[in-house]
Amino acid sequence: MLTLYHWEPNANSGKPILTLEEKGVEFESRYIDLLNFDQHSPDYLKINPNGTIPAMVHDGRMLYESTAMMEYVDEAFDGPPLRPTDPVERWRMRWWMKFLDQFYSPSASMIGWNAFIGPSVRDRDPEELKRKIDAIPLPERRVVWTKAIYGTFSEAELAESARRVRYGAKLMEEQLTRHAWLAGETFSLADINAMNLVYFMPANPLGAVSAEKTPRTMEWLYKMAERPATRRAWARGKTMTTERLKHLVRPSQQSA
């Protein structure tokens, strides 16, 4: 019995969704609305006391930390292997996942929260927002949400994030110029991880990922978007997420 508590096929929630779809593992999906703070509700805290999503319950065992969860899925279930067998490629897979998780994604996320998510949440009733923030169990997450909701990022912080996003996009382009996939010649969890960040980069106002600047990354995005597992994963979205995938089509195949 496998249940996944997740938000949109995007960022951390999208990592286990796409991994399970690639692996061909059936699971019960429980949609948690991040923007309604459902992940901090008493019912959800009974499942994951940290109040973070995604969370996975497998045979009564609760798993969190999306990247560690991806390796768990690959280890625990039958299906196509999603980690290369070559130790060097496997190391590269882990290197890229850490780079994405701790360098590239948080910077893109800061810009995204500041531009889109913060403003959309901010006009709610201030008292209600305060109650929602007070209900966040981990102090570090409370700080993150407070900054996001009230948009208190400094110009310097945003400029540093923009620099990092451009650097991340450049490094990924370099890697995909040398290799077919991020870990090397084998499709792996690193590509699944990256897809959950990079699929919306062409729509990001920084313009760091585009046909002109990063042709190899665009080609990789088209390949990723064509995979049946990606289509199934993104069909689970209830917001603009699903819409964005439709734009990831080679110019030659776009209908007029």
Binding site: Y64, A68, E75, K98, P106, L171
Partner: protein, 260 residues
């Protein structure tokens, strides 16, 4: 052939030295002091990943010409390339636990311990050698490394940085103490690379953060440290110190998470 570019047996370097010894792997030791700016650094040929090493001055394993970086991923690599004497539990849940520990230690513990260690030992050492000079910074091309070294050279750790670091160190000891209430080891019923990774940061804490890492506040952690120190592989790794004070060897570590 295996080569390890490493410094004193503390934090990142200690983790990899212990793993190599535990697995009984022969390797060439290439000792590199990242605080010695007197000559050119003798680094191996680096690939894209190794050039962008977020652990900054952490160890580099070279296996048949391939540079492998990031101390915890070096441990995973050793287990993948040399499966004998495994350091991972080997079952999906145990391996997941190991990786959750690694993420916590790398993201929270490492910057906390490195900041406190640099403030306590690196800052005075650099000052004594009159190295608080801007020309040293020109050696660092990577902007994150420049920022980290500038903090050490100019002793510009803010009160907030230090308080945040102490919070992360206290949280680490608290989590270890909590886990050891369930089992003698962190991720399984046996000693694994989660213990090695945690030990590498906690071994220096009774001296660096005695207010949280002591017999009264953390008796289980102190006993766990002793169990690990008694292992022959760990004794051999610690004996590779050239200064005799490995727990004072600190270079700027990975940065504190900026967001999220």
């Amino acid at each position: 052939m295996l080569e390890l570019y490493h410094w004193e047996p503390n934090t990142f370097s200690l983790k990899t030295l212990i793993a190599l010894k535990e697995k009984g792997l022969a390797f060439e030791s290439r000792y590199l002091d990242p605080t010695d700016f007197s000559g050119e650094a003798r680094l191996p040929a680096l690939n894209l990943e190794a050039e962008n090493n977020p652990e900054t001055e952490g160890p580099i394993l070279v296996h048949e010409g391939q540079a492998i970086t990031e101390s915890f991923f070096i441990l995973e690599y050793l287990d993948d390339a040399f499966p004998d004497a495994p350091l991972r539990p080997g079952d999906p849940e145990g391996d997941w636990k190991v990786r959750v520990w690694a993420r916590f230690l790398g993201e929270r513990t490492a910057p906390g311990v490195a900041t406190l260690g640099c403030k306590a030992y690196l800052v005075p050492a650099l000052r004594e050698r009159r190295l608080n000079d801007a020309s040293v910074l020109d050696r660092f091309k990577n902007p994150e490394r420049r920022v980290a070294w500038e903090q050490a050279l100019t002793d510009s750790y803010s009160k907030a940085d230090l308080a945040e670091s102490r919070r992360k160190v206290a949280l680490t000891v608290e989590k270890i103490e909590e886990a050891l209430a369930q089992s003698d080891w962190l991720a399984a019923e046996r000693y694994t690379m989660a213990d090695i990774a945690a030990f590498a940061f906690v071994n220096c804490l009774p001296k660096l953060a005695p207010e949280v890492c002591n017999e009264d506040a953390a008796p289980r952690t102190m006993a766990w440290l002793e169990r690990i120190r008694a292992r022959p592989a760990v004794r051999e790794a610690l004996a590779m110190s050239r200064t005799g004070r490995p727990d004072e060897a600190f270079a700027p570590g990975p940065e504190h998470a900026r967001w999220g």
